[in-house]
Structure formats: C-alpha cells, structure tokens
Symmetry: C2
Subunit: 215 residues, 2 copies
C-alpha cells in the first residue's frame, strides 16, 4: 500500500521504517521538502522510502499517519491539504502535550475535547482513527518488546471500516489485543491516559512498558 507518514521525529521514523519493512511504499512528509531528518530517513530506509512536503506525502498516501507533535498537528494537516486527505484514513498518533507548565507535560486537550476530535472537526471528509498514542514508538511497532506482546492498545473513530483497516495494520505490527473504544470522542480516554503513562515512565525508568486490560 502507498502510505503517508506526516512528521519526521522518532514516531514518524519508527512507524515509517516498520511500514517499509512490511512491504509498503512510504513517503515521509515534512514542512519543507529538503527537511534533513526526512532526507536522512529516506536514504537509509530503502527503495520503498521517499520524502516530500506534507502536501506531496498526503497526495501520495492511500492512508496517512499523523506523527507530528500534538501542538503542530492541525497546522501540519492544513499544509497536507484537505483535498489530498479527502476520503482517506488518517491514523492520529499525536498527543496534545503542553510543555508550557514544565515537566512532565500537561495536556491542552483530552478532557471536554480531544486532539482527535479537533482534527476530525477540521477535516470532516477524513476518516480519523486515534491509535497507538498510549505507547512508546518502539513498542508501537514491536509490541513483543514488552511481556511477549500480551498487552492492550486502542482505536477510536467514527468510521467502522476505517477502524477495521487500522486494526489490521496494528495486527501486522504484532498487536493481539486491540480494543475499539467507540467514536472519535473516546480519544479523550486515551489522550487523558498520558499523564499516567508519563508518571509510570518516571517510576519504571524505561519506556518499554504498557498496560494490559484484564477482566
């Protein structure tokens, strides 16, 4: 499949490399086509990897991953262009982290609204699926790093077919337990979880952890 990865940071590079390893054609999008991180990633990630502007990547992908930082997501998606994303699935991995109150960061959304909903409202023709925002990048693409992969991840979104598509992609990453939380407003649940994740990270001294929902 042709896939757009919007964002050039740790999450974008890790997701992009995994998708290439799984045989997909991946174009990494950045604000500027000459972005050094995107150029460097495309060079080392192999023949199926390329890079370009947000707009070029969004036009290229049949599906897109939002791997930009939460505070920059809406601007990055505007640059990607509603027309280029129209009708497509957008996997939103970003978290609404607010670093203005010091460390650990707080949230600028997640309580009576979520970043996932903000994106869905701004791009009504896009099928936004919140996913993977509750774990570290390395665990996102290799859940077996933690407890043999016996733990949980979540999807939230308004389109059932889009959530099935994303769940299949997650299964391809190695995820066995994917809980569909409901419509995009349930992204408030996974975004609000971040403050607990941040404290656990501090206490456990590693980002190689996750939660397993047990009954």
């Amino acid at each position: 499949m042709k896939i757009a990865v919007l964002g050039t940071g740790m999450v974008g590079q890790t997701i992009g490399s995994k998708l290439v390893a799984l045989g997909h054609d991946v174009k990494m999008g950045a604000r500027e086509a000459a972005n050094e991180k995107a150029t460097g990633w495309a060079k080392k990630a192999g023949a199926r990897a390329s890079h370009g502007t947000f707009s070029e990547a969004a036009a290229f992908g049949e599906i897109a991953f939002n791997c930009t930082s939460g505070a920059a997501s809406l601007k990055a998606l505007e640059a990607a262009g509603a027309a280029n994303l129209e009708g497509k699935v957008l996997v939103d991995i970003a978290n609404p982290l607010d670093f203005s109150h010091g460390m650990p960061p707080s949230l600028f959304a997640g309580n009576t609204d979520s970043l996932g909903e903000q994106i869905q409202r701004a791009f009504p023709g896009v099928k936004v699926v919140k996913a993977l925002n509750t774990i570290n990048a390395e665990v996102m693409v290799n859940p077996a790093r933690v407890a043999g992969g016996d733990h949980t991840t979540f999807v939230s979104g308004n389109d059932a077919g889009a959530k099935r598509n994303v769940t299949e992609l997650l299964n391809g990453f190695g995820w066995k337990h994917v809980i569909d939380l409901g419509d995009i407003s349930t992204a408030r649940g996974t975004e609000s979880y971040l403050p607990l994740w941040l404290r656990l990270w501090g206490v456990l001294g590693t980002a190689d952890f996750n939660i397993k929902v047990v009954r």
Copy 2:
C-alpha cells in the same frame, strides 16, 4: 485499628465493610449523624461498625478514608475538621468527576492540578495518600474478582511512611501489585486515567476490570 470512613455511598460502604471484616473498628462519617445510609450500614455491618458526623468519625479514626464524591470532598473534610485529622493518614479515593458537561463525566482537576493536591494543600498537617481511585469499589476490596488479582493499583503521596501504611492495608485487601508513583502531584496521573476507565466500562459492559502494568 480505629478507622474513619468519610462518605456513605457505594465506595464508603464497601470499604467500611471490608475493614470491619478484617477486624478493624470503623466509624462511618456523614454530614448529619442521623444519615440513613450510615445508620443502615452500621446496623448490618456488625459490632465493630458505628457511625456519626464527619467530625466524630475523623476524631475516632487513627487513619481516615475519603470516600466522598470528588466535588464534595473539600467541604466534607472541612466538616471533619483539620484538628481531628492532624498528623493522620488520609487515603483519598475520590475522583474529580464533573457531571456538568453530560455523560460520561469529565474532570474538574487532574491536568495541571489534582484533587489529591487540593486536599493536601488545604490540610497541610494531614498525610494524604491517593489510592484505589482507578477501580470499581468491589474490585478495590477484592482484587481477585478480576484475573485472579493479577493487576495493578497505585499510591501517590508526600510521606513515605504513610504510603507504606496504605500499601500494607492494600496488601490486606488482596493487592499484590502496588506501584508507588511518587509525591502527591502524581495523583494527576491516576485521576487523569478516569476518562479511559469510563470508556472501557462502556465498551466492556462491566466494572469488573482493571489494568495491569506490564514490562
């Protein structure tokens, strides 16, 4: 031990009954001594159970549990009286739930502040330990209801000795995995988790669940 349970709802009754079953003397506190729920609970919970005002309960207990609703907690603790709680451990189970925006509830704290911190600031002479606020009442006192008890709960507080005392009480309830998240500001982590708990409750159709932190 003599224990105060502040609050007469499901959480207070469940915690109170468990503490009586473990051999403790428990006084349930309410706004008014004649509170029907407290009277009824004390009648059926046995000889070690009694009831009274918030103030009488706080004076009675060597340790106190805040089982009031989050929005009412500060007022209830004022009625309990700083002098009656001075130097004691207060186990804060309340969540800052805000029902004014519809269901599921949102939070009135948890992001750049927490209810646990608000209580600690209002009662600087009290050793506040946030605990048990991430699970349903029945699971709080009987973790084996879920997955044989193989899941996680948390403590947050400024006083290491108080957190050890509370962890011992939790062990007595059957908890095997108790993670000390740090000082009382880490209550932001467990309070912010509630929106995810609420969505999981909706999807799973039962409150008999929890999360296990895995590495």
